[in-house]
């Protein structure tokens, strides 16, 4: 049943690429988002400016354009650095900027900006009293972050996080345009070769819907978990 005119195995492989790409990009985006949110709330003028520039520019430019810029341009940039190392310091460093890494970096970088906004809003929504209570208990900054700020923040961030994840998941389809063999690319290739687009594109669309539905359920569970003690929504 999953043969699909011989393309079945490759489509499943492609689906694996899509899922890995989405999850790794999400992790990177969360890390970048936390950094950005911290920078935006910091007292340093420079950090604040840099973070604002990052979120504004990224959110003002289409994902595909950023992806092409980072993917095609990134290759040349990396190459310049390694050439320089080789010519001047005789260091033969080979940096393989492959399509998958480029995809993760680009999507993570793009969604880091969106996550930054989500986290910033969520951190600010944490009740000041909670923090003061933590300080009164003699918690250090790190402990305060782990025990109070972060879990409280997550409660506010989850809806935005879930929303960003849904958009991110669909954005992964764009990597097929820059040459990464995800399931969209396999399906498009197969449609061309067999002249039967529906056979391949509809199942791929269904897989996206499936992933979206499963993630919706997971986020609903998480929301319940983080809402413990707050009653209702």
């Amino acid at each position: 049943m999953l043969d699909l005119q011989g393309y079945g195995p490759r489509l499943i492989e492609g689906a694996g690429v899509t899922v890995q790409l989405a999850i790794l990009s999400l992790l990177l985006a969360i890390v970048l988002g936390l950094l950005t949110a911290t920078a935006k709330m910091s007292r340093s003028w420079l950090l604040h400016k840099v973070a604002t520039l990052y979120t504004t520019v990224i959110r003002g430019v289409p994902d595909l354009v950023l992806m092409m810029l980072l993917f095609f341009g990134g290759q040349i940039g990396v190459n310049m650095i390694s050439d320089m190392l080789y010519d001047h310091f005789d260091i033969d460093l080979y940096i393989n900027f492959n399509a998958f890494a480029a995809g993760v970096l680009t999507i993570g970088f793009i969604f880091g900006a969106y996550m930054g906004e989500t986290f910033r809003g969520a951190f600010m929504a944490v009740d000041e009293g909670q923090i003061e209570a933590g300080k009164a208990y003699g918690m250090g900054n790190a402990l305060l972050f782990r025990r109070v700020r972060f879990p409280q923040m997550m409660r506010h961030a989850l809806p935005g996080l879930s929303n960003n994840w849904m958009v991110l998941l669909k954005t992964t389809a764009l990597v097929s345009v820059i040459g990464l063999t995800d399931m969209v690319r396999v399906a498009a290739e197969a449609s061309r070769a067999t002249h039967e687009p529906f056979v391949f594109l509809l199942p791929v669309a269904a897989v996206y819907l499936l992933i979206a539905s499963v993630s919706e359920w997971i986020f609903a569970q998480l929301q319940k978990r983080y809402n413990v003690g707050f009653g209702g929504q």
Partner: protein, 242 residues
């Protein structure tokens, strides 16, 4: 220095941004603007009735609309575009029908895909806004003896439109950015022009940074327009003390 002399000197000084390539970018700008504007307009016209149906208390009315928005919001626009662009070709005999001169151009399949996509998102935005209508307004309308269609027209929709404005502004920007995939089906939109310039001169930074700057300006222009609209239409929602 005079801005035009500066422009010409700058243009002469580089091999990439010749009047010729700027012409491609201009054509790309026109295509992008047409695509985005027309799909948003058509999507809006579709979304209003769909949002009303979606808000219906009868499941058999609201469910089909929900399925439509769920599918179109849950799958990548790129797949929708592929299905429509490649899909129409394989209806036997489509080439002989009156539709073909339209569907043959890449522009219209792209327009259809974008319209259906934005209509799905906009429907959900409006539904949320309709649902948020305050109960008091509805009761007041009922007390006036308004029929439900009159109430929809006079009370619910106008206030829902206003409430939907900020989210709709985001949708407009989202659509502008999403339109970048038009170049995948051979359309020379802004991104298509950048890809062409990149492929011809192997200059990714120049080609894509330039087009990124254009998109950034367009995004700011849209943001500005919606800020102004919000100021005028949502003035009554502002806290009085400000």
């Amino acid at each position: 220095m005079d801005i035009t002399t500066w422009m010409f000197e700058w243009l002469e000084g580089n091999a990439i941004f010749t009047p010729n390539t700027l012409g491609y970018y201009w054509d790309g700008f026109v295509t992008t603007t047409q695509l985005v504007f027309l799909s948003l307009l058509a999507g809006l016209l579709l979304a209003v009735p769909l949002a009303i149906l979606r808000s219906s208390r009868h499941k058999w009315i609201s469910l089909p609309v929900y399925v439509y928005t769920y599918v179109f919001r849950g799958t990548p626009l790129l797949i929708q575009l592929y299905i429509i662009y490649y899909g129409v070709v394989f209806f036997d005999g489509i080439q002989e029908t009156f539709l073909w001169p339209i569907l043959r151009e890449a522009f219209y399949p792209a327009l259809i895909a974008f319209t259906l996509n934005t209509a799905a998102y906009t429907t959900e935005i409006f539904r949320g806004a309709i649902k948020a209508t305050s109960q008091g307004e509805i009761e007041a309308a009922k007390a006036y003896g308004m029929s439900s269609s009159l109430m929809m027209r006079r009370i619910i929709l106008p206030s829902a439109f206003r409430r939907a404005l900020p989210s709709y502004g985001n949708e407009v920007i989202f659509m502008l950015h999403a339109s970048a995939i038009a170049s995948v089906v051979t359309l020379t939109d802004l991104t298509g022009a950048a890809r062409f310039v990149y492929a011809r001169f192997y200059a990714p930074f120049d080609a894509f940074l330039f087009v990124a700057a254009i998109y950034l300006c367009l995004t700011f222009a849209i943001l500005f327009v919606f800020r102004q609209l919000e100021k005028r239409l949502l003035a009554h929602l502002k806290p009085l003390s400000h």
